[in-house]
Subunit: 340 residues, 2 copies
C-alpha cells in the first residue's frame, strides 16, 4: 500500500487528471471530491480505484467531458435534467444542491438526472440537504446484476438507496445496495473455494446456491429474497423507469472496456423534504435526535454517523491506496501530461 | 370458516359497525373498504380480523370517531395534516388522494398525517395515485418490535414501505414490512416446537437465534440484518421522526387492551411523483411497462400485480373469515345495535 497520499493531495491529483481530459474546473473538482470521499468513508471500491475507468471512458468518448446539465422541466418543486452523458458525481452533487434549495422553498422537492454516469457512493449526495437541515433520499441505477425473485436473468442493478437526516451532532446517512452482498465478496469465496452463506448468490438459472463457483458464474441475490427484489423493483422503477433513458438491462458497465466509448445511460433521482414543515408540532429535529439517541443507548449504531462531512476532514488526512493503483494513476498523469 | 360473506356484504357490515360507534358515513365507508380490501388482497392479518380491535378502541376512546383531518401546513406540493387521533384508513386514503392531486399540479408532492392510527395494508393507499397515472410511495410506523442491529431493545416498528406504479395493464404495488417475517410465523414455529430458519428472530438480548421459544420471547429480526435495520431507520425517521407525534417506542399497540383508551400516535407519509414530467424523453410509462414485462418474461413476478383495484372486484366476490371472527362481529353488531 502507498503511504503519504493525503485527502487534499488525492483531490488535487484527481482534479488535474479529470481536467486534463477536458472536464471544466468546477466539475472536475466536485467529481474529484466525491471520488476521494469514497476512500475517506471506507468504501474504496467506490473511490480512487474507479478513477482510471472514468478517465478511460472520458478519453474514449463514453462520457462527454464537456457535458452540461440541461433543465428540461422546472415546476419549482420538480426539476428534470438531462445530463448529456456526463460524469455522475458532479451532476448528482448539483442535483442534491438544487433539491435542498427547492425543498427549503416548497417543503418537498425532486430532481431527476437522466443520461448520466456512475456516481460512486450514493450517500454523498444527501450532504447538500443535511447541511441545510433538510432530509434527502437518493436513488440510482446501473448495469443489471440481479434477477427478479424466481427469475433467470438479471433485470435490476444492485439498486442503491441512500437517505440523509440532519442531527444536532452530525447526521445519519443510510447508504446501501439491495443485494445481500457485493459481487466481490462472492469472488473472494470462490478464490478460497469456500462455501457461501445462504442468501448471497444465485446460480445461472436464478436458483439459490452456496457453491461459490456457481454463484460467481451466476448472479448476486437480492437482500432477504423476494422482499429485497420488491425493493429493487421500486428503485429501478424510480430511476431507469421514471428518469431513464435506460432500464438497467441497457445500462453499460463502467468496467466493460468494449463499452468505454458508449454512454452509460445511468439515471438518478433525489427527493428532499423539510422537517421544519412536516409535523403539526414542529418537533421533527428533536425527535430525529431522540431516535438516534435511542439507537445508540440500546447498543446499536446510527447508519452512516461515521461518514463525516468532508468539510470536517482536514486536507492532510491520509488516504491509502494500493501501489498498483498509485502506479496506474502515475501512468495516467504521464499520458495526460499532468505534472506531479 | 364461514362461507357466504361477499365483498359488498363485508363492506356494508364493517361500515355499519364503524358508523354505530360514531364514525361519520364517508369515513366509515372508506375505512370499511380498506379493511375488506386487506382480505381481498390475501392479507387477512390486515383485514376484518382487526375490526373488533378498531371498534374496541373507538368505543374506549383510543380513537376519536369524530376526528377530523386538520391541515396545519399547505405549501401546495406539501400538505401537513393532524389526524386528531382518528382511524388510519380513511385518513391515509384521503392523504393518498391529496398527494395524487397535488402531484398532478406540481410534479411532486408530499402529504404527512400526524397523530393517526393503524391503516391496514399500506399498499392500498397508493391506489389513488396509480389510478391517476402517478407514482406514490407510502411509509407508516407502529409499535416498536425490532431492535437496531446489535441493539438489545426494540426501537423501530416492523417498518412498512409501499410504492405504487401505474402500468398499461394495471399496476405494480410494492408492499412489505422490513422484518424478515411477521411475528405470527415465529409463534407458529414455537407452537410446533420447530427450529426457526436463520435470520428470522433475535433473542431478548438482540442476538440471532433459531430457537422458536427464544425468538418468540425476543424480537423480530430486520430483513437481512444490518441493511434491513438501516432501511427501517429510514422509515422511522420519515414517519415517527418527521411527522410524529410519537416515535415507535411511544406508539401504542392496537392489540393491547390496556391501551385501548389511549391515542395510538401513528404517523404516515405519502410521496407522489408524476412520470409524465420526470424524464427528458417523456417515456417513463413505456419504460415502466417494459420493465414489468422483463420481470415476467424472465420468470419473476411483478410485485403486487395480483392486488386488484377494488373497483374491478365485483361486490359478490366471496370473502372468507373464520367462524370465530364471524361470531365476534355478530356480538359487536348486537352490542352496537346494528341490524343484520
Amino acid at each position: 500500500m502507498t503511504e503519504g497520499l493525503t485527502a487534499g493531495g488525492a483531490r488535487t491529483l484527481a482534479t488535474s487528471l479529470l481536467a486534463a481530459t477536458g472536464v471544466p474546473g468546477d466539475e472536475a473538482e466536485e467529481t474529484a471530491a466525491a471520488i476521494v470521499l469514497g476512500d475517506l468513508w471506507g468504501v474504496p471500491s467506490h473511490g480512487l480505484m474507479r478513477l482510471p475507468y472514468y478517465l478511460t471512458r472520458l478519453v474514449a468518448g463514453g462520457h462527454d467531458p464537456h457535458a452540461e446539465m440541461r433543465t428540461v422541466q422546472d415546476t419549482g418543486p420538480l426539476v428534470t435534467v438531462d445530463g448529456g452523458g456526463g460524469l455522475g458525481h458532479w451532476q448528482l452533487w448539483r442535483a442534491g444542491r438544487t433539491a435542498a434549495e427547492r425543498c427549503r422553498r416548497y417543503g418537498v422537492a425532486a430532481v431527476s438526472v437522466a443520461n448520466s454516469g456512475h456516481c460512486g457512493a450514493l450517500g454523498i449526495y444527501t450532504l447538500p440537504a443535511v447541511r441545510d437541515g433538510v432530509v434527502a433520499l437518493a436513488f440510482s441505477n446501473g448495469p443489471a446484476f440481479m434477477p427478479a425473485w424466481g427469475g433467470d436473468r438479471p433485470v435490476v442493478s444492485t439498486s442503491p438507496v441512500a437517505a440523509g437526516f440532519p442531527l444536532a451532532d452530525g447526521h445519519a446517512i443510510v447508504d446501501l445496495a439491495l443485494s445481500t452482498v457485493a459481487r466481490g465478496k462472492i469472488a473472494m469465496h470462490a478464490r478460497e473455494d469456500k462455501e457461501l452463506p445462504a442468501g448471497w448468490a444465485l446460480d445461472r438459472q436464478g436458483r439459490p446456491t452456496t457453491d461459490p463457483h456457481e454463484g460467481l458464474a451466476g448472479m448476486v441475490a437480492p437482500l432477504g429474497g423476494a422482499k429485497g427484489f420488491a425493493l429493487a423493483f421500486l428503485v429501478e422503477a424510480l430511476t431507469g423507469g421514471l428518469v431513464g433513458p435506460a432500464l438497467s438491462t441497457d445500462v453499460r458497465d463502467m468496467f466493460a472496456a468494449d463499452d468505454a466509448a458508449k454512454p452509460q445511460g445511468v439515471s438518478h433521482l433525489v427527493l428532499a423534504i423539510d422537517p421544519a414543515r412536516t409535523s403539526p408540532d414542529g418537533d421533527p429535529r428533536r425527535r430525529l435526535d431522540a431516535f438516534a439517541e435511542s439507537v445508540r443507548t440500546t447498543g446499536g449504531r446510527v447508519p452512516g454517523a461515521a461518514r463525516r462531512d468532508p468539510r470536517d476532514i482536514p486536507d492532510d488526512h491520509p488516504v491509502t491506496i494500493s501501489d498498483a493503483l498509485r502506479a496506474e494513476l502515475a501512468d495516467w498523469a504521464e499520458r495526460l501530461g499532468v505534472g506531479g
